[in-house]
Symmetry: C2
Subunit: 372 residues, 2 copies
């Protein structure tokens, strides 16, 4: 690699936390044009329509000829496998509705602002995945007792942080053997679309999206901790470029609302007609349940409970609703959730260097008018 590439994270802003960075860089725009957040109107649906689901692609979407493609299972196994898509589809079928979120969701709302994929708040979606249990295939390959982790390699390749790499992530053997970890070939009742990992991807429910490796090509049993780029350099809760920090893993509790009223095209300012307004949205909490959702209509001074829908699938978001008597003028709405483990969304932003796991309570500025 003779050519230098830009550093992975640039920091913009004065660090005071008081002012928002006003300007963005061309690289951020290029990333924002390729990757896509879910428009928050998508919070209306139990299952996000495929084309509305968030999407992050680190490198390029690879072209895969499924007829020639084989999933190779190797490393510390006594029976290495090379399995065709057809054979995987013949195995016992599991369906799972999973809310997936990018670990960087909310990054571009942080101040100072880490410059990378500039997510605002839409890097989330819920899909019904169809696949087969990872565990059953690992059992078939007969793992060595010395296995510590399972390493997943995708077909997408490129440079990040000046390292040439295939996208690779590992999970512990305990996590890999979790009954709900899937090798998925279907999304919302149809074959995976290319951008979502065709022909086969991993689904690790409850984890941020980086764990659910797309375009799977290779699965290896290893007897040590995998220290690749996407494990040790990226996806860390760190405070500086030199801080190794802690690994990012499970999705943190979060709630978002369907944008109330109507927008201004350019600024996305929200206009709402005075009167009773039904606020609604979704909340999710990774491997925990959503315990409570609260709404503030006065900028965070007072909070009241939203009504929660009945519990749905374990890893899926849960609907909430709240009736608001909207009076003319400007208002700041907030929503925050708490999970069954007692974790709450912060109202003040807890900053980190890579802009990971920012589950700060959503703020929505509203202009209420008597007549629209």
């Amino acid at each position: 690699m003779a050519e230098k590439t830009k550093p992975r994270f640039e920091i913009v802003g004065d660090g005071s936390g008081l002012e928002k960075s006003e300007m963005y860089f061309p690289e951020e725009l290029v990333l924002a044009s390729r990757n896509r957040g879910m428009p928050l109107e998508g919070l209306r649906y139990d299952v996000t329509p495929t084309g509305m689901h968030y999407l992050l692609v680190h490198f390029d979407i690879p072209y895969v000829d499924a007829k020639k493609w084989r999933l190779r299972i190797g490393g510390l196994v006594s029976r290495p496998l090379a399995v065709s898509l057809k054979d995987i589809m013949k195995r016992p079928r599991q369906k799972l509705i999973v809310t997936m979120e990018c670990a960087g969701n909310g990054r571009a709302l942080m101040n100072p602002r880490p410059v990378s994929q500039p997510w605002l708040d839409g890097a989330v979606g819920t899909a019904e995945w169809t696949g087969t249990s990872l565990k059953s295939l690992l059992d078939k390959a007969r793992l060595s007792k010395t296995t510590e982790e399972i390493l997943f390699t995708g077909l997408d390749r490129g440079v990040q942080g000046e390292e040439l790499q295939y996208y690779q992530r590992s999970v512990t053997i305990a996590e890999a053997m979790h009954e709900d970890v899937l090798l998925a070939y279907g999304m919302n009742g149809r074959p995976l679309e290319p951008q979502h990992g065709y022909p086969l991807r991993l689904i690790v429910p409850g984890w941020y999206g980086m764990a659910s490796v797309k375009w799977l090509e290779r699965i290896e049993a290893i007897d040590h901790h995998f220290d690749g780029y996407q494990m040790e350099k990226s996806y860390r809760y760190a405070q500086s470029a030199d801080d190794p920090g802690e690994p990012v893993n499970l999705i943190r509790v979060r709630s978002l609302m369907v944008p109330p009223g109507i927008p201004d095209f350019m600024t996305r300012a929200r206009l709402v007609q005075a009167g009773r307004v039904r606020l609604a949205g979704r909340a999710w909490a990774g491997r925990y349940a959503v315990g409570r959702v609260e709404v503030s209509t006065d900028g965070g001074v007072t909070w009241r409970d939203a009504r929660l829908s009945k519990k749905g699938p374990r890893y899926a978001w849960r609907a909430w609703a709240f009736d608001w008597d909207a009076q003319p003028g400007r208002h700041t709405l907030l929503v925050r959730a708490r999970d069954s483990d007692g974790n709450s969304q912060p109202v003040e932003q807890p900053w980190n260097y890579q802009g990971m796991g920012n589950n700060t309570a959503q703020r929505v500025e509203i202009i209420v008018e008597n007549k629209l």
Copy 2:
């Protein structure tokens, strides 16, 4: 509308055409996060997978209960209609593969840069639409002989340029009676997803996307030219804020290539291994045919013909390929197409105030290395 909103187009840059604006505004980022370009890997497919198709939503994606929804056909007709989705689906069925492009595609590559939805080059996609002929329904409603235009109103509502509006566009009666203008309820063999206009949208093949009104609610025959915001203020080839300019209509000839080699995550710089490289992509030309595609591998000094695939559906993009002997070093690739009417893509940018119809030849910077 008591509240002021920001101007629709802001101009950034010095106008010299020599330097690219380096910074972007938060509004652009918010728009880029909601709307989405097709990652150019999508140029591999005859028909773009639904979730990869470009998407522009002016206001919000409306929620529509299809059971209650009716398409109303009125204005200067002797038999006004209110038609259910079920009834529309019973009418004679037409399928049409259409390449659609946003009129603002390439806007963020202009200098000085019009600030609006900041498209780079991905605001394009090809879908198979299923629907019924608009003409047959208009015939059923019996148009008055004084009809000049047909006006289409969508259910999406918001503010643009300080005007509160439903999204509305008209076409001439001649255009509305074109046999390939569809009322579409299907995309790629499935019901429209909400973001693409569920339950029903217009498809005007060969026109930029703004003509293909989504979430159709009302069709009216009128005896004059409709002068609404999206006709007279937006979608104009203008040279300044005060210049009314000319209306944007048919898609201009354009060609794009699948990104060669592999990317750097952050900068999207392209790295290619030395040797023979198959460059490939698509070209399209609205209502004309693609006549010729040329590639330059030396920054536009010399050009050679690419091979064109055999002709496909009338309104669909056409594949091209070109073999390149890539030598180590930095290279600038360009591709340009010419249509059957003799129009070519410019190599130098022809600027306009709203950033419309920018079909300047694509430039791709490549770093070729001996080994990757």
